[in-house]
């Protein structure tokens, strides 16, 4: 399956919120929808889920207009909420049936996912009597119970402690391995880095960066290297670079334990290595710089 989001525009009360959002995502891959608060991530997701109609633009699945009602979708909305006064199993089985499961299947799947998230003991309790974290886990169980082909998670990690985050991470990795198509929005970059092959970075209603995460990292790290020297602080090394190596490299950033440098045009890595060897420096690290997603995010959003 290939989901294509093409040129989505959306206005509310005359104010344009999305200015042409486009990205693609395929089965067996996860797309991380990134952006600051209010960037337009949730609106984009709601358009995909057909909660709103876009003003213009298309959402296609395998080249045809995408109708969420025709597919099994595991959707975790940003606004979490179920029936507070209903018993957990009862309401999840009801929602499972609404998504096309038989009553028996809905109950079985509910019990499986409640167990998976470690909340099966609360199945006969009213939702409102559970702690916030457990309510969040019940909501996650609800998301996965219809065995969805497409999974859309809006800020899934918010409100989860590290142990529960790990459980969710394992579930997500397993779902991707099973060939599910996954879109997930977040502003917590390290989660995205862990399992998203593709990203779409949204800023103020525009996609400012999209594509394969590794390729983006390579592109952002092009001609850049990280170096460090044994028994020498990054500041000392930076001073040496500024004094003796300006003909070969440009200092980009001084990090706590290493430097990020950029080779000047027509200078090769071998030339730099040779110069370093001649200076008799005890090289600890000499590698191609791969920026973290946070670096790219800050840089890209900062530009805007």
């Amino acid at each position: 399956m290939k989901l294509e989001v093409r040129n989505l525009y959306k206005s509310f009360t005359g104010v344009e919120i999305l200015h042409g959002i486009s990205f693609n995502v395929e089965s067996g891959k996860a797309l991380g929808l990134l952006g600051r608060n209010g960037a337009g991530k949730t609106t984009t997701i709601r358009l995909i889920m057909n909660l709103f109609e876009p003003d213009t633009g298309d959402i296609l699945l395998n080249g045809k207009k995408f109708n969420p009602k025709e597919h099994q979708i595991g959707y975790l909305p940003e606004e979490r909420g179920l029936y507070p006064k209903k018993k957990v199993l009862e309401q999840l089985a009801y929602l499972g049936q609404l998504r096309g499961l038989s009553r028996k299947e809905a109950k079985e799947n509910t019990l499986y996912w409640l167990k998976r998230f470690g909340v099966e003991e609360y199945k006969d309790r009213k939702l409102e009597t559970l702690s916030k974290g457990n309510q969040q886990k019940v909501q996650l169980a609800e998301t996965f119970l219809c065995n969805p082909d497409i999974i859309i998670l809006d800020e899934p990690f918010s409100g989860l402690d590290p142990v529960n985050s790990q459980i969710l991470k394992d579930v997500i990795i397993e779902q991707i391995a099973q060939g599910k198509l996954l879109i997930f929005s977040s502003h917590i970059m390290n989660y995205v880095e862990e399992f998203c092959e593709e990203i779409a970075l949204i800023d103020k209603g525009d996609v400012v960066l999209t594509g394969n995460l590794n390729e983006i990292k390579t592109e952002y790290g092009k001609d850049r290297l990280t170096i460090s020297v044994v028994d020498m602080s990054a500041e000392e090394l930076a001073n040496i670079v500024k004094l003796r190596l300006t003909n070969l490299i440009k200092l980009v950033e001084t990090r706590k334990k290493y430097l990020i440098i950029e080779l000047l045009p027509s200078v090769s890595k071998a030339e730099l290595l040779k110069a370093l060897a001649e200076m008799d420096l005890n090289i600890e690290m000499f590698s191609i710089y791969k920026p973290s997603l946070s670096d790219i995010f800050v840089q890209k959003v900062g530009e805007n």
């Binding site: 909305p77 606004e79 909420g81």
Partner: protein, 410 residues
Amino acid sequence: MKDFLIVLRFELMNFMKNKTFIISSAIICLLISIGLSVPTIKNTFFDSSDEEVTDEFGEIEDINYGIIDETNSINLQELQNNFYSGILVEAKDMDELKDKIDSDEFEAGFVIKSPTKYEYVVRNNEMMDFGSYSFEEALIHVYRVSKLESRGISYSDVEDIIHPNIESETVILGKDSAKNYLYTYVLVFGLYFIIILYGQLIATSVASEKSNRAMEVLVTSTKTTNLIFGKVLAGALAGIIQFGTVILTASLAYKLNAEAWNNSLDFIFNIPGEIILSFAAFGVLGYLFYSFIFGALGALVSRTEDISTSATPVTITFIVVFMISMMGMQNTESIVLKIASFVPLSSFMAMFVRMSMGSVTSMEIFISLGLLAVTTGLVGIIASKIYRMGTLMYGNPVKLKDAIKILRSN
């Protein structure tokens, strides 16, 4: 359709498992059963056949009124026979009269000055004092009798001429409103009560799905028409079950106690079949009509507290419809009731009143029912669109007319 049935079942169970629903139904049924069993209980445990029959006017006979006839020409026995407020006791003079009034021996006193003039002596003149009125009537009677007799005319002859006994019989070609009044009243009031109660419940249920944010999960799981139609019809079924249980309990309780009632309430319980059918048809459609509106109203607010404010115009309209129907029961031929019986906002109640208590042609019934059915369908579709639109509208409540404007502009 499958989803609709799933929603219907879930929502119906919500109503049926609701403690308020169960307890209120049980209490109403219990009260009706006890109320209708009172004569049987009385006959069984408090058999009154051996009791002394007390004088209906026992209390009145204990009340004495003083009287002084200064004319000495009044037939006091005749006066007493026509004075129903107490016993007239002669007093010697004014002093004795006043003393006895002061000592509460006399309730009050009358001093007859002439056959057409008297003085009323009383300690405190109270608002609800019928003594003097009753005395005056008796005095007039005595005066008439004496004057007529002095002219040689028999009073009873005159009375026969003035107040002849008229015998009458009513041949009813249409409906006997007097006889149908009570059961029509019960049914109309029951309908009013159920629509107001369940309408509010439906609006609250929709609004709480919004306020607890379950709405987003629901509308992405199934069509909004399934959600609102399922919810409204579940309310209708719950209402029918509750109303039906009450009526059934009352009928059963009456059947068991009919003998003790001497079948005197037959006219309430022997509702004709066609009236029950028309009540069901108009009642259900009217219920759906208003429930869809209440459902849409629920979707336009973000908090359940805002419902009563938002629902006020609809509630007032509904009360006006109820008042028109109630007043129409006094006069089924009134033009207001006739118009109301075709307007879908009110026809479900007004046409039922006309059918139950007045005369109405089958054509009129079909036109009214058709109009109501089509409008209810339309209201249902519009309500599901408003529900869909209101789903993710948080913030200040949106007015119904503004919501329709937004729908039209889309």
